[in-house]
């Protein structure tokens, strides 16, 4: 495998992890505009542990995720008392606050960036990404997934059905933030260097765009969104500036034409029906 292909695949794996981090709260009807901030927490905490306490990488990354989750819990519990746009605004503020704070923390390099002592290659990154996808997939095949969808579709009805709406929203948000933290850790250890300015609002916005572009009704949506937006710009490499223009224009057009995102629940149902028909057709065919 060429270095270029490997680089693209690593980026894809990390973007997929970020996308699932943003997907979980969206699936519960809340928007996280501070994904980059949680990723930064995961990146810096795991890198710090690894450099200063000789924690093994494979342990440091989940700890970074847990740290991001704890921060998410601290913010979500007070903010989710209110409804609507407030969590989105609070996460926006938190993301910027995390970035600005890290810029001023000299023991992790401040504005100069922070070199990371350990390195992980594509197999480890891809392994983490695959397990995140499988975990979220499994999670959504349980009662939890059904409950989250109910909360997303209609909070009032979900409440009447006896679901603890707020608890589900908090759990989805905290889990998503922890996943984003893991993504940050993967980024840190693969590139061996992190700087606070990378984890800015543009990153958060891009990740949210992946998710809504891919579709939030099914677990496959973020995977497609992240894959398309990682691979498409690579094909459009002609001009670095125009990549973002095309990226944004595609999102705007798709949001108008297909506001539910590319992969919708109906599409998934149709596809699975198609596969079943195909299988039945073959088995019923006379020998």
């Amino acid at each position: 495998m060429s270095g270029y292909t490997e680089g693209v695949l690593v980026l894809l794996a990390i973007n997929v992890v970020f996308a699932y981090g943003a997907f979980l709260p969206v699936a519960a009807g809340q928007l996280n505009l501070g994904v980059a901030g949680f990723a930064a927490i995961g990146a810096y905490v795991s890198a710090y542990l690894c450099t200063n306490t000789a924690t093994p990488v494979l342990l440091a990354i989940p700890i970074g995720g847990i740290a991001a989750g704890i921060l998410a819990l601290a913010v979500a519990v007070p903010v989710l008392r209110t409804r609507g746009i407030y969590l989105a605004l609070a996460t926006f503020a938190l993301g910027e606050l995390v970035r600005a704070t890290i810029l001023n923390l000299e023991f992790v390099g401040g504005a100069a960036g922070y070199p990371v002592a350990a390195y992980i290659g594509l197999p480890v990154v891809a392994g983490f990404a695959a397990s995140v996808v499988v975990m979220v997939g499994l999670l959504f095949s349980t009662r939890f997934g059904i409950a989250i969808t109910a909360v997303h579709d209609d909070e009032a009805v979900a409440d009447l059905m006896g679901l603890n709406v707020r608890a589900f929203q908090i759990v989805a948000f905290v889990l998503g933030s922890a996943i984003a933290g893991i993504g940050g850790g993967l980024y840190a250890f693969h590139f061996s260097y992190i700087e606070a300015q990378y984890f800015n609002i543009s990153l958060s916005i891009s990740i949210v765009l992946y998710v809504l572009f891919g579709g939030t009704q099914s677990v496959a949506g973020p995977l497609f969104g992240a894959a398309i937006f990682t691979l498409l710009p690579e094909l459009l490499r002609a001009s670095a500036q125009w990549r973002y223009v095309v990226f944004a224009a595609v999102v705007i057009v798709v949001m108008v034409l297909r506001p539910q995102g590319l992969v919708t629940a109906v599409l998934v149902r149709r596809l699975s029906a198609l596969v079943q028909d195909f299988g039945r057709g073959r088995s019923e065919r006379p020998a």
Partner: protein, 281 residues
């Protein structure tokens, strides 16, 4: 002085969220467009008042384009779709500006002679800055009167309460909503023009650096409250100046976004907000 820039941005954002319940992330981009257009025209030799007016017109026009791709589709889509599209617009316009003008900081020539500073004792007051402040206050006052007194303002306040009911009551929602976008676009572009004329430097990412502080101004003042946004802008400006004074320039973002988060946790309706959202004149 930055406070009045934040205040104008806060007004633009608060109009959108108060009337349409739409957090319009393209406002920072409109701010940047206001600044960049002013710079580009002045750079091309156009007199600055003409450039400023052209920038306002550009802001209004681009706001209409954003409207065509966001609000119009809101009814059939989830609540985040217009928000997400407006973020995509932010990225789109930023990188269009980079593609056209490069990502460097551009500098405007000094437009006003040396005699424009007004000295009162030790204080140096720049007349252009003062004029900018006066224009902002006048425009907000006009907006506030329009919302409170006119037929159009009543229509807008009805939409703020409930857009479906407004439609049933014969309010021309389809005609008024683009107007909201145009007004907020002009306010955002005006902030950009004032910034370009006073600080004489613009760049494609000025929207992210400054425009997003407008969100803080809006929240601190209370979402949907026009005068609250003004107060919020001034508070954010003061917090910046104070944190530079006490802790140094690096702590500005920590203070501003820390304050935003604190307000959201402790008093999400903002300092001057009531219990419910809506435009209060």
């Amino acid at each position: 002085m930055l406070g009045s820039i934040y205040a104008m941005l806060g007004v633009a954002l608060t109009l959108s969220i108060g009337i349409l319940r739409f957090l319009n992330f393209s406002i920072p981009a409109l701010f940047m467009i206001g600044g960049m257009v002013t710079w580009a025209l002045v750079h091309a030799g156009v007199p600055w008042p003409v450039a400023a007016l052209a920038a306002l017109a550009a802001g209004a026009l681009v706001a209409l384009i954003v409207e065509a791709f966001t609000w119009r589709w809101m009814r059939t889509a989830g609540p985040f779709i217009p928000l997400v599209s407006s973020m995509a617009f932010l990225i789109l316009f930023e990188h269009l500006a980079v593609a056209n003008f490069g990502s460097d900081l551009q500098t405007l020539p000094p437009l006003f002679g040396r005699g424009v500073d007004w000295r009162v004792g030790h204080l140096v007051v720049s007349i252009p800055q003062l004029a900018g402040l006066a224009i902002s206050v006048a425009m907000v006052a006009a907006l506030s009167l329009t919302l409170a007194r006119t037929q159009m303002g009543r229509g807008l306040r009805t939409i703020a309460e409930d857009s479906d009911t407004a439609l049933l009551l014969g309010v021309e929602v389809g005609r008024l909503v683009p107007l909201v976008f145009v007004i907020s676009g002009v306010f955002a572009a005006l902030a950009g023009v004032l910034f370009a004329l006073n600080y004489r430097q613009v760049d494609p990412f000025m929207g992210e650096a400054l425009g997003l502080k407008g969100i803080s101004a809006m929240v601190v003042g209370g979402m949907g409250n026009v005068w609250g946004a003004i107060a919020g802008g001034i508070i954010i400006g003061l917090v910046e100046v104070l944190s530079i004074g006490f802790f140094g320039a690096d702590f500005v973002d920590i203070s501003v976004y820390g304050l935003l988060l604190f307000i959201l946790i402790v008093r999400p309706t903002g300092l001057f907000g009531g219990a419910e959202m809506g435009v209060r004149a």
